[in-house]
Amino acid sequence: MNNINHNIESPKEKQNRHKAMEAIKLLNTLREDFKAPISSMEYFYDLFERVHCKHESLHDDKTKIGTMCIQIPSEIIYALDGVPIRLCNGFYTDDEIGSDLMPQKACPLIKATVGHFASGNFTDKPDIVFSPTTCDQKTKAGVTIESFGYKLIDIDFPRTKESEASREYWRRSVKQFAVELSRFQGKKLTRTSLKNAIKKIGYAQSLYHKLSEFRKNELVPILGLDVFLVTNAFFFDKIDNWIEATEKLLSELEIRAKEKITVSGKASPRIVYTGSPPIFPNYKIPLIVEQSDAIIVADETCSSNRMFNDMVAVDEWNIYDMMDSISDKYLKACTCPIFTKNEDRIRRVIQLVRAYKADGVVYQAFAGCTVYEMEQRSVLEAMEKEGIPIIYLESDYSPSQGGQLSTRVEAFIESLKNRRRMKK
């Protein structure tokens, strides 16, 4: 019986196993714990399982262009024959690794991202990383990441979006980005390739919008969690596969809407979700919300709505105008809390509440994400003025902590149900 002969995992194997365990746990919950599962969601469950549990790489044959935030235009990356891989990370395993490299109170998303780089353990390792200077922590994390030997280029991003000066500034940054990338790829940006890329991403966005339309229905046919998964998949999936899978999902939803199949309960309050982005597999708060008999009908987060909502509009389909359109879209429409003022974000949340007939708003910030934490006040005030119930939650990536949060969320959701009853 004495010491059994088996090998001990390497740190890499251990990290992979931990991440696989995190991933499969969420995936199984999504697959099994909710009523009326959607069969075409299986593509997405399987995709995440393949990548995070079986460590399959998807883009062996392509140059992988890592991006640290949504402001790096994917259109240009596709036009230059690269694959954008968004590196925002949601794994607790990586968060723990990153914790040793970052200040204690840093944002878990950053810690996880840095931890991921530190481990160097990628299924699709980025060949080059572009980091827009958005929040302080991301901006500074670039240096740490570079110190691990990655090629990382900062892209200057202005933090006041109202001024015309910042429009000019950002247009120049985007041009610079295109130049850097084109040099790296040894390819020239052509009118046709850029046009095709814009149209392809526009098409993907149009699918997202169609998906959102279903969530306006009184009988919501899809979970907010599933939608988060679909949008998260866009971070790294092969875009054509993603498009095909989403098209299938849409046709299934079409049928569901006709047959009045819903994933929500009779009295489930409708929730708009805003704040720090839920990134796979950190769906802690959305999970609590939807397990407490509420349904997320819309969100205002950079891992989902903000990534898809706004579309590039081109007036003259020549490179000069396409580039400007792309730049403007990524700056002007963005509701990221890193901007000085952010009336737009408040207006967006209110508009979402109206358009999706939501009963309340869940605002969550990662402990350590200063910008979302700071904006909480003004958003709460604005919601109060509008008479929209809102709850503010702080969370991190750790798997514990669930009990307290769920008690608060449940109480909030029950209060929303009460409000509804009172109205009737």
Binding site: I198, K200, Y203
Partner: protein, 332 residues
């Protein structure tokens, strides 16, 4: 009904406008040949110098004429005539509001053609710098005031100043690019001349020539170059508020994405950034409706005619217009 509305919202505005402008151009520039006469109070540059072809006449020309009266007569019948003309101008104007500029004005159309040519040649447009932008805005008002005052000063001495020479009787027409360019479309190049008869005429006709050159070059490199300075636009704007056709915005739905601004040939920032006003027909707006076509938010911008929405922004329409509705790649 719903279906029709959807069709309209999904329309290809660029094509619609292109053909509409051509038809309007034909009517205004060649209508005279088929006996068309829309009167002489049109709120658009239907040039009187295109005497045979024109399907109506420009009110700016008329206005200068109306004002060239001694005060005494002006207090009498000339004054009435002036007021009636003005009322008719306003009546015409109210139908389309600034839409006259975006859809009818031949000078506007010509500029759009030059823009299209430039676009085909893949030459980047230029823009006014933001510092100069606000200064430019006032020029059209200055021109308007001048064209109102000069004719009056020909017939009257104001504040003891000497009367102005008769050569200035149509001061704006002298420098209006329409005077040379519009008749040219009917093969009439008579207006391309320099008048040596008097010093005033000499200066004015040379200035006119230069402005035509500027018009052609300017609007090739800058979209709607001339419209920024157009006194007609200034005159129109004074009466714009009660007009029947409106450009409305529902600020709550606006994401300030700026797509509308990018489409706007007049670089009107308010169209994207103003989320509190309802009426978005600003002084430079030519009501071309391009912004509506470029806005991806359902029901955020709309063209409204006497309270009825006739064309509004929609996601579906946007996607169709940007050809993002299908996954097809173009290979050029």
């Amino acid at each position: 009904m719903l279906n029709l509305k959807r069709k309209i919202n999904n329309m290809n505005l660029v094509r619609f406008r292109f053909w509409f402008q051509i038809v309007a151009f034909l009517i205004i520039v060649y209508g005279g040949y088929v006996g068309l006469d829309l009167g002489d109070k049109l709120p658009t540059f239907a040039c009187v110098y295109n005497s045979e072809g024109t399907g109506g006449k420009c009110y700016v020309g008329m206005l200068q004429h109306d004002l060239k009266h001694p005060l005494e007569t002006f207090m009498g019948f000339a004054g009435y005539a002036f007021l009636i003309s003005l009322a008719m101008f306003i009546a015409w104007f109210w139908v389309l509001n600034k839409g006259w500029c975006g859809f009818v004005c031949p000078l506007g159309t010509m500029q759009d053609w030059l823009t299209a040519l430039r676009e085909k040649l893949k030459i980047r447009f230029s823009e006014y710098s933001w510092a100069n932008r606000s200064k430019i805005k006032s020029i059209k008002y200055i021109l308007l005031i001048l064209l109102l005052i000069i004719p009056v000063m020909i017939s009257n001495s104001i504040g003891g100043l000497p009367k102005l020479p008769n050569g200035l009787s149509m001061p704006f027409c002298d420098i209006c690019p329409g005077r040379m360019l519009i008749p040219a479309f009917t093969g009439n190049f008579n207006q391309f001349y320099i008048d040596f008869s008097s010093k005033t005429d000499l200066v004015m006709t040379i200035l006119g020539m230069m402005i035509v050159g500027l018009f052609l070059v300017g609007s090739f490199i800058k979209k709607r170059f001339f419209c920024y300075f157009c006194p007609m636009a200034a005159l129109q704007y004074i009466f714009s508020k009660p007009a029947l056709l409106k450009l409305y915005k529902d600020g709550a739905k606006c994401t300030k994405c700026g797509d509308c601004y990018r489409a706007c040939d007049m670089d009107i920032l308010e169209i994207a950034d103003d989320v509190t006003s309802k009426n978005l027909v600003t002084e430079d707006c030519i009501l071309c409706l391009k912004c509506i076509a470029a806005c991806p938010e359902d029901g955020c911008l709309e063209a409204n005619f006497i309270g009825i929405t006739i064309f509004e922004s929609s996601k579906e329409g946007f996607i169709l217009r940007m050809a993002m509705d299908m996954q097809k790649e173009s290979h050029e």
